[in-house]
């Protein structure tokens, strides 16, 4: 009779996936569905605003922000690998780099919004463009913010020595969420700055 483990916890089972991996992928599936609707709404309302600033009049390509966010995916991959090898200091700095890059993305987004609101008078209630733009970009930014908070938590826990190589798989699962946030940004960016312009 095979030895019964109390619960299947973190080790991959004979079936190949760990529960953390499956759970994270399913969360990403649900979030994809959520964002798909906002993207669909954005695409549907392109060109339909009755008044007010149009995308071509006010949008500027967010090149720097995109570079920051996408490279933060790179830094977190490196950080996770460092943790897997037990290099906790390097992991911490990699994680910090990811946080800073993500934070830079948020700051740049905030500056963009300030410009749009103050200089162009574009708010969520101005017209259909404003409505769909702020909700789509805003929800993405919210997901970035949540990711930043989680990374800060990991960083703090790590500072107290609670994050060691045996926990690397958990950080890796979080990194999947972080990569997802990046992929969503690519989709959002395509909808807003490519198709919408």
């Amino acid at each position: 009779m095979s030895a019964a483990s109390a619960t299947t916890t973190d080790t991959a089972t004979a079936q190949g996936w760990t529960r953390g991996q499956v759970g994270t992928l399913l969360l990403i599936l649900a979030e994809t569905s959520f964002f798909a609707v906002f993207i669909a709404g954005y695409l549907f309302y392109i060109g339909k605003s009755l008044s007010g600033p149009r995308p071509a009049d006010v949008l500027e390509l967010p090149i720097l922000a995109t570079i920051c966010l996408l490279s933060s995916s790179g830094t977190i991959v490196v950080a996770v690998r460092d943790l897997e090898r037990g290099h906790r200091a390097r992991f911490a700095s990699g994680l910090l780099a990811t946080i800073l890059l993500g934070g830079a993305f948020l700051v740049l987004t905030a500056l963009e919004w300030k410009r749009l609101i103050v200089e162009h008078g574009l708010t969520i209630s101005t017209n259909l463009f404003g409505t769909t733009f702020y909700s789509l970009v805003g929800f993405h930014a919210a997901h970035v913010s949540v990711g930043l908070l989680i990374m800060l938590l990991i960083l703090v826990l790590g500072a107290f020595g609670h994050v060691r190589r045996e926990h690397a798989f958990r950080v890796e699962l979080f990194s999947w969420y972080w990569h997802f946030v990046d992929v969503v940004w690519i989709a959002v960016g395509t909808a807003v700055y490519v198709i919408g312009l």
């Binding site: 009779m1 619960t7 079936q15 529960r19 759970g23 399913l26 649900a30 959520f34 609707v37």
Partner: protein
């Protein structure tokens, strides 16, 4: 190499519980899938009683033409709350409850993959439900304080926008469901993860009970379909409070966009509700026919294809909206296509009974009624997919009859079957066969009186969601019969509740395996110990207990 030990060791004798606070804490703080499952199901039954009363009041108002027993404002709240409650606070928790309770037991695991997430999900569901019902007391609507939402369970814009739904009644609808939805999503994540990663040794995907397969499909549908509802509701909330223009027709917004988003959720939702009914039937019909399910692989394939197709048919709720001819033709055809795998399942169930030795215990009675009623429901669905026919019948009582035939004649009957079948496992006690039969016949008669008749009102031109109707349209007699059927249904439900209460009095012990069944949950004690199995089982076929009971003719020789 014993596949499974005999009945698991009984749990150690309990010390006398030191007071009700201990028991309360045990339940409130639990992360055990069995307790959470029971809590989900019980909450669902409580909301069922409330929503049923809401329906009874409506049918009282509609029993006679030009009736003024209920004001239009109250009536509109009643049908909104009735529909919203039945879908989100009765259907969803009950199916998640049974999924929670049974999946670990059926796959030989000790709990779900994420026990704490499970508990969080339950309490989110309950909080969302209570928030929705708080609206009766706390919200302010178009007509002053104390009004529940009154925009229908699908809250079409612009009616649900700020201009036409003042106050915050509609916001209770949005927030109650939104919060409850997190519970459903966490249930879905748990069910899939558990089934994919925690099966016992030897249980390949192809050896899982059909129940588990179907709950996997249901869970994927939830993950794909619930977020669009959340998104749409958030958009509505932004419109109502941030001045957004998503559905503001004066700003160029599209009132129909809400319908697309809502039904992209709404249609998969109804499959989310009915597929668990298929799951219960797929476990119960074989046991009471004494035969293996006919065509296991085809049943899986049919369910998976239903899941896919269900995501492509949403606009069949919108045929009167004025979509283009090509769009109407597409949605009509693809909706009829979904009838094919559904029909295949019905045939497979019949083929399971055919050649068997059918035992007409209470769970089987409900399943047989389900087969015929679900067939009718599916056929009226085909009729509604027939667009020109739908142009007459959409938004009429014919649709109301159709979906109640699916949800009551289909889902609720199988839920009743599931309760009679698994209650003994959950409690160690049998429900009274006599009370069960009384419940069955009363409810069947009442259901038929109400909902078969209801098709006639639709065919005679009666639209839905009207609080009264004039006397000169020839609808009176049909409405009266429809309303009278409620009495028998209510009596049936009372028998059901009485049976549950009475079971704890009569204390007829169930034993591990009262039905002589074949899946793993019946291999452990009733109720199972907290850890489910003394030793995790190892299986060689889809029916491990059949193999044990028939060592000369085990399933694994034929699969």
């Amino acid at each position: 190499m014993a596949a499974i030990d005999g009945p698991a060791a009984a749990s150690p004798p309990r010390e006398a519980a030191f007071g009700w606070t201990h028991v309360l804490h045990e339940w409130v703080a639990t992360v055990d899938h069995k307790k959470l499952g029971i809590m989900y199901i019980t909450s669902g039954i409580v909301f069922f009683a409330i929503a049923g009363l809401e329906a009874a009041v409506m049918r009282y108002q509609l029993a006679f033409p030009d009736n003024d027993a209920i004001s239009p404002e109250v009536f509109n709240r009643l049908f909104t709350m009735h529909g919203t409650s039945m879908v989100f606070l009765v259907g969803m928790p009950i199916i998640i409850g049974f999924g929670n309770y049974l999946i670990p037991l059926m796959i030989g695991a000790r709990d779900m993959a994420f026990p704490r997430l499970n508990a969080w999900g339950f309490w989110m569901f309950l909080f969302g439900g209570l928030l929705l019902y708080f609206s009766y007391f706390g919200s302010s609507g178009l007509y002053g304080a104390g009004s529940a939402p009154d925009v229908g369970w699908f809250a079409y814009t612009p009616l649900s926008g700020k201009a036409f739904s003042r106050g915050n009644a509609t916001d209770y609808w949005i927030l109650g469901i939104l919060i409850s939805g997190f519970g459903s999503l966490s249930g879905a994540v748990n069910m899939i993860t558990t089934a994919l990663t925690m099966r016992c040794k030897g249980m390949t995907l192809g050896r899982m009970p059909l129940f588990v397969w179907m709950m996997i499909v249901v869970s994927f549908l939830m993950l794909i379909a619930l977020p669009p509802l959340t998104a749409a509701q958030v958009m509505l909330l932004f419109d109502r409070y941030l001045g957004a223009r998503f559905f503001d027709t004066q700003a160029g917004g599209d009132a129909v966009l809400w319908q697309h988003f809502f039904w992209f959720f709404g249609h998969p939702e109804v499959y989310i509700l009915i597929i668990p009914g298929f799951a219960y039937a797929s476990e119960i019909i074989p046991v009471f026919s004494r035969k293996v399910i006919f065509g296991y692989a085809v049943m899986v394939a049919a369910t998976v294809s239903i899941g896919f197709v269900a995501c492509a048919v949403w606009a069949h709720h919108m045929f009167a909206v004025g979509m283009g001819k090509g769009v109407n033709i597409w949605f009509s055809t693809i909706t009829m296509v979904v009838g094919v795998p559904t029909g295949i399942k019905i045939f497979n169930w019949i083929a399971t009974m055919y050649g068997g030795k059918i035992r007409f215990r209470v769970p089987m009675l409900f399943c047989i009624a389900f087969l015929i009623q679900f067939l009718v429901a599916g056929l009226t669905g085909i009729m509604l997919a027939a667009v020109p026919f739908d142009w007459q019948l959409t938004d009429s009582y014919f649709v109301v009859a159709h979906f109640h035939y699916v949800l009551i004649g289909g889902l609720l009957f199988t839920i009743f079957a599931a309760v009679y079948y698994w209650f003994p496992k959950m409690t160690g006690l049998m429900l009274s066969e006599r009370l069960g039969r009384l419940h069955f016949w009363l409810f069947l008669i009442g259901f038929q009186m109400t909902f078969t008749t209801m098709h006639v009102q639709g065919l005679l031109g009666m639209p839905r969601r009207i609080y009264t109707y004039p006397a000169d349209r020839g609808w009176e007699i049909w409405n009266l019969i429809t309303s009278l059927g409620v009495v028998a249904q209510g009596a049936g439900v009372l028998c059901f509740l009485a049976a549950i209460v009475w079971a704890f009095r009569r204390r007829e012990p169930a034993g591990d395996d009262p039905w002589d069944a074949w899946t793993l949950e019946w291999s452990t004690s009733s109720p199972p110990p907290e850890y489910n199995f003394a030793e995790l089982p190892e299986v060689r076929s889809r029916r491990p207990l059949w193999d044990l009971k028939h060592p000369e003719d085990p399933d694994w020789k034929y699969e």
